[in-house]
Structures are given as C-alpha cells and as structure tokens.
Amino acid sequence: MTLDASVALRRGTLDLAVDLRVADGEVLAVLGPNGAGKSTLLRVLAGLLPLSEGHVTVDGAVWDDDETHLPAHRRRLGMVFQEALLFPHLTVGENVAFGLRTRGVHRGRARTTAAGWLARVGLEGLGDRRPAQLSGGQAQRAALARALVGDPALLLLDEPLSALDARTRLTVRAELRRHLAEFGGSTVLVTHDPVDAMALADRVLVVEDGRVVQAGTPSEISRRPRTDYVARLVGLSLLPGTGEGDSVRLDGGGVVAVGEEAVGPVFAAVRPESVALYLERPHGSPRNVWPARLVGATPHGHTVRCELAGEVPLIADVTATAFAELGLAPGAEVWATVKASEVAVYAG
C-alpha cells in the first residue's frame, strides 16, 4: 500500500507542487505554516479536489492522473479532520459503523466491528451516546476509529490535535502514536505544530508557500535545517526516557532534571535556544550539566545550530558571535547546560 503522488494544483493564489512517497506502515508528516497548502494537499489526496497536474497512485492503482479522477468515495482511505465532525444525527456507534454500512456490510456485523474499534480507542460502552455528549478528546478518538474501521489503504490526518486543549492534546497524541504504529497502511499527517511531527512521524516534509523546502527524518531536519524557516520551526530535542518524579532517566543513559512531574515512559523535550554552551564546566545553579562533543555546526542567519553528541544528545542554537568567541569548531569538547524549568515533558 505505497502512496506515490506528485501533486500540482493552482487555485486562486495558491500554487502547490509537492511530490511524496510513503511506504506501508510509514507516517509522513507535512509540516508548515497555515496557508502553505497543506490541507489542500490532503484534500487532493482524498479526491475532494482535482489536481491541475500530476498523479496519485496507491499500491499501483491510479487514483488520479491525466485521464482518471477516482472520486473520494471510491478510494480506500480514512480521513480525520481538525474537528472530529462526527455526524450529529447518529450515535457514536453508528458514526463508527458508517464506513462499513456504506460498503454494504450488514447492520449487525457493522455494529459489532464498530464496537470493537470503540474499545480499541478507549471508548468502550459509549456507542449509544450522541456526539454532543463526548468531550473533545473522546470525539477525536471516535473520529479516528471511524476512519480506520474500513481498513483503509491510506490514512489522512488534517491537524487532528489542533482543536484540542493542551492537556487533552498530550494524551491523544500518545494514543495516536500507538495506533499509527499498529496501522499497516500509509499515513500522511498534516500539522503546523512541530512537536506533532517530531513525536508521530517517521519522515517529515516541510512545506512553505506550496513548495517542499526540506524532507527527511525528524532528527535529520532538526539537526541540519536547510533554511531559517525550518530551523525556527524544528530543532526540538526529544529524548525518550522514563520519568522518576522530578527527573527523567533517558533510555540512552543520562539523567535530566525536569520542571514538571514525570512518571512512566516520557519524552524530555529541550528547545535549542534553552541550551547554553561553555568551554569549562560551569558552577552555580543548573542541575543539568553534561559534557558533550560538537559534531556539527550549521549557520543560519545570526545563529549557529550546533549538533551535540554525548550521553544527552542535544541540539543547541548559539549566536554567531558567541560561536566565534568560544572558538567552537566541529570536534570541540564543551559543556551543555539546560535549566530544569525549561525542559518540557511529554507522555510517551
């Protein structure tokens, strides 16, 4: 179920030209600012909008090209929108079963399958409720179940977490990770939040003004941003580990003191500008002090993005001036510090 698409679309002021390939089981995040054309791209992949030029092929079957345009309802896909958009006139269970009923599955079997999916997304027993009775997070989980119930070849997620409040976003993102890992088809996730991309995607496409400005794994583009924009957008270090109260023991060794309570599997997240570099071990307050070796330095604008290897691998942004004053160069041994309060924790 490989997705192979080359999408060119001109619509009003939007001029979009993006190529993408997503393998089975892979999650591709399309990251970019609002208005970049990301949602439009998704609607083209879904068949809700026609291409101007190009093609969309899924597992060898042509969904779009110069001669064909398969309408959305004939494509084996599932789509989750920013707002859950559960049908208000149906129960939650009927919503989830909808994709089966349209494909001719009998009511009883559809209901059973839907109930199974509701249990998988943690909404067991809520099948008879009306969508208005669900919370935002519950509704989004139901929308995910509804999209997956038809065993789609392609899963499209359009800013699925943006409409949720901060707390709910954390829990739903963690669950989404799990489900995406279990999903066998190709997934394209559109978001403007780099944390989503970092946490959920295998590969990232950064899109600006309708064009791809960088493509790669999350760590690749964080470490070696090709443009200012990409650098400003990504660069968050996500360190997997286990929470132990006020610190996190990283999977790769090393301990990070954090500002918030952390328990269980988590990510410790450090923004590049929160990392300070010293040539000698600093004294004083920071509880987080680690030795590191500078393995890469990419200048952009007035900052230099530094790639640090060590027990606690980090990405640090330092001003060009500071970089010069410190006499840094790849290979240099440095000390990195981060204030505990500036380390965020995400459930993992």
């Binding site: 309802h73 909808f98 994709g99 349209t102 494909r103 499209l156």
Partner: protein, 265 residues
C-alpha cells in the same frame, strides 16, 4: 432596580402585545360568537364532512408532491453551480407574490381543455383536469410549493458541507450522502417547510375556486364552503370556520413539538 435576564426590553413589549392581540382577537371572536347550541346540527351536514375530508386529503397530497419535487429543486438552487440560478429562484418563488386567482387563470391556460398541455391531454387521452379533485391538488401545490422550496433551500445553505466531505471519505456516493447525511441534517428545515406548505394549501381559495371550480364532494374545500355558507347562513360559516381552525391548530401544535423542537443547534 434589578432586572432579570431575558426579560423583554420595554420598547419591544408594547408592539409585541399589540401583535399578539391583532392575531389572536379574530380567533377569539370566532370562539366567542360561535353558535354553540346549533353547532351539532350545523356540523352534522354531510357537506361539512365532505369538505373537511377533501381539504385534508388535498392539502396532504399537495404537500407530498411538494416534498418530492421541491426538495430536489431546493438542492439545485442551494448547491449546484448551474448558471441562471438567481433567475430560476425568482421564477420559482413567483407564486408567492402572485394573486392566487391569477395563478388559477394561469393554470387554466396550461392545463385547461384549451391549454398548452391540457389540449394535448384532452385530444390524446380524453383527460380533462379542471373541475376535478386532482385540479384542487394541482392548484394547492402551485401556491404552496414555493414555501417548501424556500425553507429547504435556506436550510441547505446553512448546513455544514464538511459533513458531506466526511461522508465521501467514508465511501458514501453522492446519492447516499444526500440520503443519509444531508437530508437528516436539514430535516428540521424540511419539516418546517412542509408544515408551512400544508397550512398554505389548506387555506387556499382563489386558485382553487378559479381552476378547480366549486362542487360539493369533488372540489369544494373548506375555505370554499365557508365562503359560500357566509352568503346563506352566517352561523354555518362560523361553525365551519371553527372546524378549520381546530384542525389547523391541532396539526400545527402536534408537529411543532415533535419536529421543529429538535432543530440542529
């Protein structure tokens, strides 16, 4: 002075009260001046039952036809991108402003024995339409369908089209989406339009008496019966009016609760 939330502002209170009085007093007068002692005998006449049955049947049939034809028309007006929709909408709502008698004459010119379509029907099949019960239904449909079309078009315009996108991604063809998503979402608007349509059809007089004529049992609906009774026996007219009022009120109250109360927020 404390003011409870939701109280009507004073400048609105007086006009609103006047409006209520204006609308309700005539109905109250009907009740007050009703010939209660003679009511039984007056209403027992067979012509009354016939007129009532005819009115109810024809209004319901007219509403049925309006639903079958009017909902698709409303969809075209609201959703399709065909050119000339504005003109089409104006034409379709002409019966709303046309005097009903004029509508009756126009129907003659189309469906009468000498009419554009009617003459063909008469010559080929020997079928005449004026002065029959179908003519009553046609006349009522002509004046009442625009109410339904306007109401449903409004509901379709206001509906959230994103649900239809969702439906498509879940494998529903456009027809299935219409049946299982769009229609249920605009059902309150359709119901409201149908109620308006039915009420208008029930009360129709001018087009009916012109095109369908007046004959007890076949084409003499309640409004016609009331009009003619007024010239003979005012109390009979009041009695018939009460019946019509009671039936209309009952239907409107019944429907209002069940259908219109469940509007999508």
């Amino acid at each position: 002075m404390t003011r409870a939330r939701g109280r009507t502002p004073a400048p609105l209170l007086v006009p609103a009260a006047l409006a209520v009085a204006f609308l309700v007093l005539p109905l109250a007068a009907l009740l007050i001046r009703a010939p209660w002692t003679r009511l039984g005998t007056l209403l027992a006449e067979p012509a009354v039952g016939e007129a009532l049955r005819l009115s109810l049947v024809s209004a319901s049939a007219a509403t049925g036809i309006s639903l079958v034809l009017g909902v698709p028309l409303a969809w075209v007006l609201a959703r399709s991108r065909a050119r000339g929709r504005t003109v089409l909408r104006a034409l379709v709502t002409v019966p709303l402003v046309l005097p009903p008698v004029v509508g009756g004459v126009a129907l003659f010119l189309v469906l009468g024995r000498q009419g554009i379509v009617g003459s063909w029907l008469y010559d080929s099949f020997g079928v005449t339409i004026p002065f029959t019960t179908p003519a009553v239904i046609i006349a009522e449909t002509f004046v009442a369908m625009p109410f339904l079309v306007v109401s449903v078009e409004g509901a379709l315009r206001a509906a959230d089209t994103r649900f239809e996108d969702v439906s498509a991604t879940l494998g529903a063809s456009r027809w299935t989406t219409f049946r299982r998503v769009t229609l249920p979402l605009v059902a309150p608007g359709v119901a409201a339009g149908a109620v308006l349509c039915w009420a208008r059809a029930l009360g129709e007089f001018g087009a009916t008496i012109t095109f369908a004529g007046n004959f007890p049992g076949t084409t003499q609906t309640m409004p016609l019966a009331v009009y003619l009774a007024l010239q003979r026996d005012a109390e009979a007219a009041i009695a018939l009016s009460l019946v019509l009022l009671a039936v209309s009120l009952a239907t409107l109250l019944l429907l209002r609760d069940r259908w219109l109360g469940r509007a999508v927020p």
